[in-house]
Symmetry: D2
Subunit: 306 residues, 4 copies
């Protein structure tokens, strides 16, 4: 374990070079870390070869060559495969290695993976991010980190290369939990903002004035004061640009699905969280999948043609 804490510029593995993983790994390179990469699509690695990174054939190969690895994968099954699959990390992980999973997945899966990693004498931390592709590029993501507290500083050393905020949340799985809870509340307050704005407009209020009133009152929330879903109320947000960019409805539906599964497994009532999930699910079915999640305002609104 000495090697990784003493000499911090030893190589770092990075698995999963998609929309988010790509800029994150680049920020590691920028900070002077040699990186060893793998992606299921070989073409995703090319760019990194040009940057001097070692490209490998499998997660196991990465584990053989690096004792600090970051994974950034789209879903629980992918994470399981990368860690415990036939050519997974655990096939060749070294004792004392630090494995940081930045995917957003079911916290129960994070716990399973942590157990399997621990059996091999290595350390697992979950560190999902908040912030989109822009924040990944700019290196100002927020990381919510779960795992053994003594290892937090070692993780933070790497994560600060990619994010401006690295928060320790508690034992393994609590990073995921924090992210899931935040996004569930975000979805609820976004839909609530869209409903309140829509109702107010129908009752004769000017949208800008209504937003101003909400923002100085108890209805104030991030969705009303920073990311207002009504076109014309704010500039520089997806609602000002036909709901392009931002955080896609399909991604929000995915996170709400994780919240739902966690709530079901812990027998926690989440009546509005559950309804928010259904609304984003219906939006996906009705053609809004690729629009920003603030498009719920548009979804709830009467169609122009009617």
């Amino acid at each position: 374990m000495c090697s990784r804490t003493m000499a911090s510029k030893t190589p770092v593995g990075f698995i999963g070079l998609g929309n988010m993983g790509n800029p994150m790994a680049k920020n590691l390179v920028k900070h002077g870390y040699p990186v060893i990469v793998y992606d299921i699509f070989p073409e995703a690695c090319k760019e990194f070869q040009d940057l001097g990174a070692q490209v490998t054939e499998s997660p196991a190969d990465v584990a053989e060559r690096a004792d600090r690895i970051i994974t950034m994968l789209p879903s629980s099954p992918h994470a399981k495969e990368v860690y415990t699959g036939a050519n997974g990390i655990l096939k060749k992980v070294k004792k004392g290695s630090l494995l940081i999973d930045s995917s957003t997945i079911d916290p129960a899966v994070s716990k399973e993976l942590a157990k399997a990693v621990e059996k091999m004498g290595a350390v697992f931390m979950d560190a999902p991010v908040s912030g989109g592709v822009g924040a990944a590029r700019a290196g100002n993501l927020t990381f919510m980190v779960g795992g053994v507290e003594q290892e937090f500083n070692a993780a933070k050393e790497l994560l600060t290369c990619m994010g401006s905020n690295v928060v320790y949340c508690g034992e393994v799985g609590t990073g995921q939990a924090a992210k899931i809870c935040n996004n569930m509340l975000l979805a609820i307050s976004m839909i609530g903002t869209a409903e309140a704005m829509n109702l107010g407009i129908r009752l004769g209020l000017d949208p800008k004035l209504l937003a101003k009133i909400l923002n100085m009152s108890s209805g104030r929330c991030w969705s009303s004061d920073t990311y207002n879903p009504v076109p014309g109320v704010m500039e520089g947000v997806p609602s000002a640009n036909n709901y392009q960019g931002g955080f896609g409805t399909t991604l929000m539906a995915k996170d709400l699905g994780l919240a739902q599964i966690s709530a079901t497994n812990t027998k926690t009532p989440v009546p509005l969280g559950s309804q928010a999930h259904q609304i984003y699910r219906m939006m996906c079915a009705k053609g809004y999948a690729m629009k920003d999640f603030s498009a719920v305002f548009q979804f709830l609104r009467e169609e122009e043609s009617l």
Copy 2:
């Protein structure tokens, strides 16, 4: 109309001296206005007699003696009775009088009353308040005002005696609309906060830490950062005091009922607002009627005894 705009310390009528009306009327007295009062319960007027106010027998009597009247009543039917009933204001209202209704009622009823008032040559404004009994006493309520814009300054002159914030919202009914929309969004984000906090705690997060994370992220809202519903997270809020004081669940249920009726009448979809209404309704049926509305955290939580 001259009289009321030129000599501002002519008497002001006040009808409805309940929990809110009482301190509001007292603030008018403190600002040097002679007041002429009426309440359906004669004992509510006594205190004002001692303060030198004229006590009358009916709303009509008030209208006979004052050309500026403020009404503060518990619901739409009460407001209808006070304005259009057998001994209502309209029986004796003087031309040019200014009638300000601070009750929280259906905006459609405000519009009806405004029409009836207008027929008599007088002016009606709806000016519901935000802020509870404490704010009423301290004179720092927020008033959301709907009505003809030219009359707004005349209304403001009086309302600033009772509130620190007087916002012009648009035509008659928009004051109610603004209040209803704010409270609907408030209820939604409060329930959402309670769900997210509860789920996070079940998943192993420390409540204070979770609140801190939400408040620096996109889940942030007034209910999470100013009025957190989880005991132990903040001081000086109802959740720190067994949900006593604050804004009662039964009052929130009433406001959500108004939002529901407005949404039904304007055919506006409000899926979460509607569900929030049902949750507060169930809470009323299960013994939470008199607790602060943040007690939804307690309602959703597993009972200790189980």
Copy 3:
């Protein structure tokens, strides 16, 4: 009052000759009753003139000439206008007249009208119908009747000309209450059927087989066994005909709005009824207004093009 009970073929007034009122009034004619008609659209009366009916200029005129009147109107405000408006029935209603309102409206409004009618010495009954235009033509509507029990037989005499089922429900307003409760449960079980069928299909079940299993199990309901919303499962229902005909989504949304208002006024929690209302409201906003209400299956389904 004698005249109307003794000589049953005295003229019957009929106000509101729309999609439903037209065939209902014709069935009265078929049964030998002279009818005296009024509709706000004069052209709606023409057809009845040709059938020998007297056409009048106002509801008041009808009340002057007939001591039994049936009204069939689209909503609460229309009903108020026809009864209590400037040229309304009550302007000229005769003592002892029997006024039967078959509109579907807020039961609280029925009670208001009943009071006003009673003051004039006449009798009011609410008698909303179940069954659509087809049942109106065939004369096999169901009438749910509220009002004084002693008058039920007099009402039944007329209503049996238009319906095969005439049920006494209790005091004034309970006819509306019964209809509203039935339609709320209908909407809930229709959406539930659509969800269950859709989920089953996604999980690999054959729709016909799934419908058969539900119908022999505890999930059985009218929407699953008589009016299945999945194309291909049954014949002769709207789902077999691109959701044309049947009971329009916009009408279901209206009835759910009435249920919601009644529930709000009586402080009754209706969490699924309320959600059903919102779903039909969203469908109206998304282009399903004129389709049969079983089209909720189509609404919940993934779009073909995705």
Copy 4:
């Protein structure tokens, strides 16, 4: 494979002798089958020893001695353990064995188990039941069976000893799917019935009369006509006996959790199913866990003491 189809009275394994498994296994004994039993609680096996059954030490032991095995377990993790655990069936299963799982679990888990079983050269079918402990004793359960169609008759031979209805649903997992869909629709229509009955009563209708009207109208469902949740409407149902007996709220919450997970995994919108899940979850948190699921009527009702 011959042995099991030709000589049907060869021993049958039975794993899981709880409330349901106990009477089911006894019915096999009654039909002359020698049974080989296992339960995690040894005392659960005693009774069977007295009946002449072989008692074993593990699922693997059962698999060694019987080539037809029925499992009846409380949840997905238990089923995984019994099949794939350290002493699980798969450790010693014989080629050609028929493994029938009557547990109610996630259909995705059934599919996983089927794959694992298939790899060992054996056959897996999911066959969850409908009907409670009473039906299990009386031998008239309904089995919904998923798996390879050619094996259905072999399964049916055993299942008909325990049930009166054995329905083939399709490939592996569709038995679970059918049960989950039915119970989701059941929960929705039960809550809907409770809401409609409660609202009707508040609006002045007699509960028996309202039930009669619903049952002859389009609101009719199993919950209204066979299992009415309102005390006093029907005899011989849990609502007539303070909601004791019947199908517990906690079990319904479990099945709705499975429906929710299946819907989340297949991205199917189930807005009312999801809300029904939340309502039963809240009921569990508020002391209704052990009452029949029709107690939702009581849950929605105003408390007597208020």
